[in-house]
């Protein structure tokens, strides 16, 4: 049981990163982006292409770091994948959502548009990489034996630290930097932000870029922990939204707690249920939250960040 909770914390940290970026985008663009899970998948597949195809072709050394399953190529691939995914998100905004904004479409149209984008990204992943699972590495790494029969792979400690660093980095960015403050102002009240001289169109570009880069990181970390598959983005949607809503949608700090909760509950549920039911477990939590506390744990009328 303790082992499952530990596994849940690892999964939860990845979900947190995904949910924090999902809720950040939600707070600014003001619609539920159903393509967010697929942005995670894009990040993972771009990194996969770099590490397992491009760098190999260029003859990069593939030495790994100590007990970790990856090495320098992955650390180089990470920022590139973040940039590419950010580029994808900003281009989608340019091509699909900005024209909708200019024609002042109702929010529902953006939601439908994001679903179409989500399926289109998935179709592209299928076309380019095929339906089969991919792994960053086939090598098996020994897990560390901890007390209470807990086994942790060194990769998983890296994942946890990477997620916490990213979220802390986002916190500092939002609190300290000028752009971060402008983002928060835009999330609070776009009209007031515009009056104060903030270019909200620029803020949207920043939001998509930051949200997508964080999503890409989450996708890569999930790829390191498990495997890559084209439908991974779709399977992540329910846990991500459950985490974001549990924490109070639009509130990144709530999403952090929400992600951890969903991750732990999903892993612990495997003691009683088939692991394939994990998305359904997230769905049940989502319904319970909507029934009992629809604004989430940290949610309030006022936006939290």
């Amino acid at each position: 049981m303790i082992a499952l909770v530990v596994d849940g914390v690892i999964l939860g940290s990845i979900l947190s990163l995904g949910a924090v970026s999902l809720t950040l985008v939600y707070g600014i663009v003001r619609f539920a982006n159903f393509a967010h899970g697929d942005l995670m998948a894009v990040g993972a597949y771009v990194a996969f292409f770099l590490v397992n195809t491009a760098f190999v072709a260029l003859g990069f050394p593939d030495a790994t770091f100590g007990p970790l399953s990856f090495g320098l190529p992955m650390l180089l691939a990470l920022p590139v994948a973040m940039l590419v995914t950010a580029g994808v998100a900003v281009s989608v905004d340019r091509l699909v959502f900005r024209p909708m904004r200019q024609r002042s479409y109702a929010p529902v149209m953006f939601v439908i548009g994001s679903l179409a984008v989500a399926f289109a990204i998935r179709a592209l992943l299928f076309i380019i990489w095929g339906p089969e699972f991919h792994f960053f590495t086939q090598a098996l790494r020994p897990a560390l034996q901890l007390p209470y029969e807990v086994r942790v792979k060194p990769d998983q400690i890296f994942i946890l630290l990477a997620c916490l660093t990213m979220v802390a980095g986002l916190y500092l960015f939002l609190q300290r930097s000028k752009i971060g403050k402008a983002l928060r102002a835009t999330a609070d009240n776009p009209d007031l932000a515009r009056i104060s001289g903030i270019n909200t169109e620029h803020m949207l570009v920043w939001t998509w870029a930051i949200g997508a880069a964080m999503a890409a990181t989450a996708g890569i970390l999930l790829g390191i922990d498990a495997q890559l598959r084209p439908e991974m983005g779709w399977n992540l949607l329910l846990p991500l939204f459950a985490a974001a809503i549990l924490g109070g949608i639009g509130n990144p700090y709530g999403a952090l707690i929400g992600g951890m909760t969903i991750g732990i509950v999903q892993q612990v549920s495997t003691a009683f249920l088939l692991p394939t039911y994990k998305p359904a477990v997230a769905f049940v939590i989502l319904i319970l939250v909507l029934l009992i506390r629809p604004r989430g744990i940290l949610g309030s009328e006022q936006r939290g960040f």
Binding site: A32, V108, V111, A123, F126, I127, F283
Partner: protein, 329 residues
Amino acid sequence: MTIEAILSSGILNYLVGFLIVASIYALFTLGLNVHFGETGLINFGVAGFFAIGAYTAALVTKPLPTGELARYTQQALGLDQPFLVGVIAAAVVCGIVAVLIGIPTLRLREDYLAIATIGIAESIRLVFNNEQWLANGSQGLVGIPRPLYDLVPPAYYNYIYLGIVVLILAFVAVLLERMIRSPWGRVLRAIREDEVVAAAYGKNVFGFKLQALVLGAMVMGIGGALYAHNAGTISPGVFEPVFGTFIVWVMLILGGSGNTKGVILGAFVFWAIWAGTQFATDALVPPALSARAPYFRFLLIETLLVLMLLFRPKGILGEERFVSTLRPR
């Protein structure tokens, strides 16, 4: 050519099969039109109601497996009831599920319903996939009985079934059109346009939304039942989100959300496009990539939906503007 030769020719058979499936999808689209077109509810879980309708109809009309078959097939129910009982049961069960999903979500923001409906569709697919005892797990059910099967030789049966499907489609379409044009339908559109105003006029917004959700879900359930009897076999793989949900949305937007005739037209036009892309990908995609050919088709329709949303959001026909049938237009 004799009539017999014409009726059994390949092209005509293809056309009849095409019309049956298009008519069934027209029912899903009509259901979604009540949800989104009239009331503005985002249902991304059409596949869920499709699955519930199909499985309910199958379990109600199929007998329990006997003899050798019982060793390979498990099903929780096998009521061996007539076709129409199955159709009605499918509608009722979908209606009940809609109530359960509506209660926690319809008072909240519109995106929450979208997420929750995805959740119900995925969960239902997982349940049917994993619970062997319920409806034979991932292998699904075979031998779902076909109504009036003994009436004509099997080669002509599709004509009979097309007649049944078209009759039901016409009945549902006329009924929905009357409801939409009634004062009740007007309230739905008022809620779609501005919930607060509708509430200010003393309308019970939650109640009307729930009624719309249930009505649309029941129509989808009927579509699911007709699908099961047409295919004769169903398995969880049929209810994947692209086929179960996404193409219904494309049909709705293509034909004209909010227009009964439009959404039926949308279903038929889309199904023709979809069949056309099959020939196109067969001709254009190199054989080495043929396993990935379906995804080229998906990409095509996803692009089509985005283009429709951007350049022709009202669809082919667009919504008819009317206030009341009593007033001259």
